[in-house]
Symmetry: D2
Subunit: 135 residues, 4 copies
């Protein structure tokens, strides 16, 4: 599956006294990328929640490399990497356009939950939105 | 009305590259202080929301003075300063115990909203919780 | 002085359990707007710090109106509103493009500090960058 | 090596519109736990940086389980799990005291950097602080 590129400018409030972006902010950027990934597929994550579906994160992993500083323009590349019965995995690569360096990579696993906040089998309508071939 | 003192230790992730606490974090600390203020009155803000009441912030003001750095132990002093028909105001003073300096001060105005998310007259039961003499 | 418009998309992590953007995040958005305001004047705030100048916030005020929710596209309008010997004030108006409502307004006061982290008279070179007529 | 227990109360601003703590905040809590872990060993991470040493995170992993909500009192258990020549690993387990459930677990890998911001072999003085037997 293809990578989508999502540009983000690093905010001052995202830095810490070491002069780099604080490590928790990468998870915010991953989330921004997921939102844009949905949009690139023709729907919004917001509309998914309005239909009673939620995709909470059940696992996250990040390997930090290189430097990301205030005002740097980074590109978060994201792709849907794996889909199981009720869960799916996004992969991320962050490229720092300002320093021209590959920096961080990571992944997040999500479970599809319905209105009862229980894991549910991903229905065909959602598989179609995500661009997953029928099971 | 009396001041309540709420100690908070500054987190690394709350600093920015200038080496100080980022200015938005003071609003998080004010909120922590409001939670403890409710607890000191014998209830929790959480229980208020469970009863269908919300106290969203409609105005906030902060004057930043002195320095607040990583690992500093600050004391947020808070008091209920004013109560109107449907709104109330908290005042805050921050003392930095690590540097022994008065630093920041501020206030927040809140409106009481009911389940319909409309401003409502503060009912007697809530006035009692807040320690406000009957109207 | 003119208003600059800075579009921002609200992140999921910026919401709280009330379903709105948490009130501290507006200060992050104001900061993003200040960064873009500098860029619109032909310099970056980053370059200012590299020259040994800092513009820490010494006062902030926000009046929250209307609703700002996840995935809403807001426009932060910003202008330099006042300049004194060593300090300056930015004003902000937030328009929610998704709901077509004027929402929040606010201001921040900043002091110019030099390498010694003391307030300094704004020098001509900085006044030029900011577009301020000579004193 | 032993586990240290660090209690933390969940802030309102740490929730998101799903009604849970936003997933990035766990990394803030891990950092708070690291600070307290250092303190339990008789030093502060702050003093480490003042001596010219830094312990940036180079890898983080979190598995989210159970629910963590506003005002919940959680206990972050932390231990130093592994030490290599220039790097070390902390492990975390989060227990939600309010719901009496084990929830999240995770780890972070850190590299020791010196003033030049390059990885350095952990010197004896730092090994002693960390309670690591001599190499």
């Amino acid at each position: 599956m293809d990578w989508l590129e999502v540009p983000i400018r690093v905010r001052y409030g995202e830095t810490d006294q070491m002069g780099h972006a604080y490590y928790a902010n990468y998870l915010y950027w991953f989330e921004v990328a997921r939102g844009d990934w949905c949009r690139s597929r023709g729907f919004t994550y917001k509309s998914l929640e309005e239909q009673g579906y939620f995709l909470p994160v059940v696992e996250a992993w990040v390997r930090y490399r290189g430097e990301v500083r205030y005002d740097d323009e980074i590109v978060v590349r994201i792709r849907l990497a794996e889909v199981r019965r009720a869960s799916l995995k996004f992969e991320y690569r962050i490229y720092n356009s300002t320093t021209a360096q590959e920096t961080t990579e990571g992944y997040t696993w999500h479970v599809l939950m319905g209105k009862q906040r229980k894991a549910v089998t991903i229905p065909q309508e959602i598989r179609r939105l995500l661009g997953i071939p029928n099971a």
